[in-house]
Symmetry: C2
Subunit: 117 residues, 2 copies
Amino acid sequence: MMLQSVDLDRAFHALADPTRRGMVDRLAQGPASVKELAAPLSMALPSVMKHLRVLEAGGIVLSEKAGRVRTYHIEPAALAGIEEWVSRRKAAWNRQFDRLEAYLTEETEDPQQEPEK
Amino acid sequence: MMLQSVDLDRAFHALADPTRRGMVDRLAQGPASVKELAAPLSMALPSVMKHLRVLEAGGIVLSEKAGRVRTYHIEPAALAGIEEWVSRRKAAWNRQFDRLEAYLTEETEDPQQEPEK
């Protein structure tokens, strides 16, 4: 999935906080209710809800309400989008680095190419 | 490389901005000076410097100064750290999803397990 720039802004922002990354850790183990997500945190419920809204705005999690219980789960496409964005830049940098290394090796192995001293 | 929580905060925050992601795009093609990084941007130099400081604080880029020219380049270990963090959560979620699917298939295939109507 290709994420638009504004989505990437929100997705990266959503993960730039240890509480929210902890929620993603929990949700990676399976769906959970607000109550279950709040249980390990020493944090007021409105703060928990606020973090969940940031994760939802970033596309990292989705929620659905059944009766009075809202259940959250991971949106794997958003994680895949982030992974792909990072992976492409890393790959481009590595290619660039390999080319530089190959060039330097060539220069060293061929004395005729060396500048006169 | 395992990034600490505080480093991940800064690394994700650094990438939560389109200008900074554009700088990473440029640097993935090879090292660049502040002047080169500023060239395509309609932005005052102090703003460019501020973005670069955020990228550097997030460990995404490194810089070195030779004479009066400061050159920036990608720190691939930080990108690898982010990629790994995201990839692990995605993998955990997928395992969980596969288990659920296997369970549901089993339930459907074995009529004795079905609840009475």
